[in-house]
Symmetry: C2
Subunit: 173 residues, 2 copies
């Protein structure tokens, strides 16, 4: 039986930080760097983040994370892939996120997509995520995808990956 992998969207498939830096600069005139906000959650790093992500369209036009499409398509042949996104807090995000996945990851079927408010509801063997809150209580193997919010995370339970090229090296035999 294929192993099941839970793959996160924001910060893993969708490259959300460049967009957050841009909007923050536009609103405040201040260009932040990853080091400026290292270890802070998005809503701590960007005080207006909740307003931005509540608006229709925010998630529809995010850039695709470098290398993610090619590697996820390979993983999709070797593993049971489930794309799981914490999305039910923001009603407008849902349709945008699904349309975005259909556009950029058309090989992922609608049966492989979960939008929820608590990832611990979903059982799997492997999790790839940038949020320690999702990874810490996951029973299987955990990969922490480097993003500013987790730069200072040293939990030895998680294997750090800095790119989809690294994920490919580890997970594709």
């Amino acid at each position: 039986m294929k192993k099941k992998i839970i793959v996160d969207m924001d910060g893993v498939l969708a490259d959300v930080y460049p967009r957050l830096f841009d909007i923050h600069e536009k609103e405040t005139g201040d260009r932040l760097s990853a080091e400026d906000i290292a270890g802070k959650l998005e809503e701590e790093a960007f005080p207006n983040q909740r307003r931005w992500v509540s608006e229709p369209g925010f998630f529809r036009t995010l850039p695709v994370m470098e290398g993610s499409r090619k590697v996820l398509e390979k993983l999709n042949k070797e593993y049971d892939i489930i794309v799981v996104s914490l999305a039910t807090e923001f009603p407008n995000s849902l349709t945008d996120k699904l349309m975005w996945l259909k556009e950029h990851f058309s090989f992922i079927s609608w049966k492989q997509i979960v939008f929820c408010g608590d990832k611990s509801l979903i059982k799997a063997d492997i999790m790839i995520d940038d949020h320690p809150k999702n990874l810490d209580n996951f029973a299987g193997k955990t990969y922490i995808f480097t993003q500013p919010l987790n730069l200072h995370n040293n939990n030895s339970k998680h294997t750090r990956v800095n790119s989809w090229a690294e994920i490919e090296k580890i997970l594709i035999p």
Copy 2:
């Protein structure tokens, strides 16, 4: 620890059939009854159903199933309730369904909501659903909520419930 219940939306919390009968009559002039379509899936009973449910707005204005709000609010105190809806096939349904839940079931937090394409991903103790395809492979206790599509279902694994009043009698001690 509280037992976890997966509660379906369409046909269980949202009273979808009256709307399907109405649209079908409007388009064809033919008023169907529950007996006319007994045992048929929605898409078999209503050939245009997929077009209807793909349009923005369809799920936003469905009537609330009689008694569901009052009983689910009671269950929400005694059990871990997760509202799980097969929704990722239809992008426009997602935001509509979440707004509908926020309006009519405001006591259900966004952390208790899952939109997915395969309910077998979610583990729980009890499932209340109208679709045998969701109930048949569920490992826990199953309640089949009477709707036309399951009128002829005689799977002895499932306990049939005809109303939220019956669910209350069974599940509230």
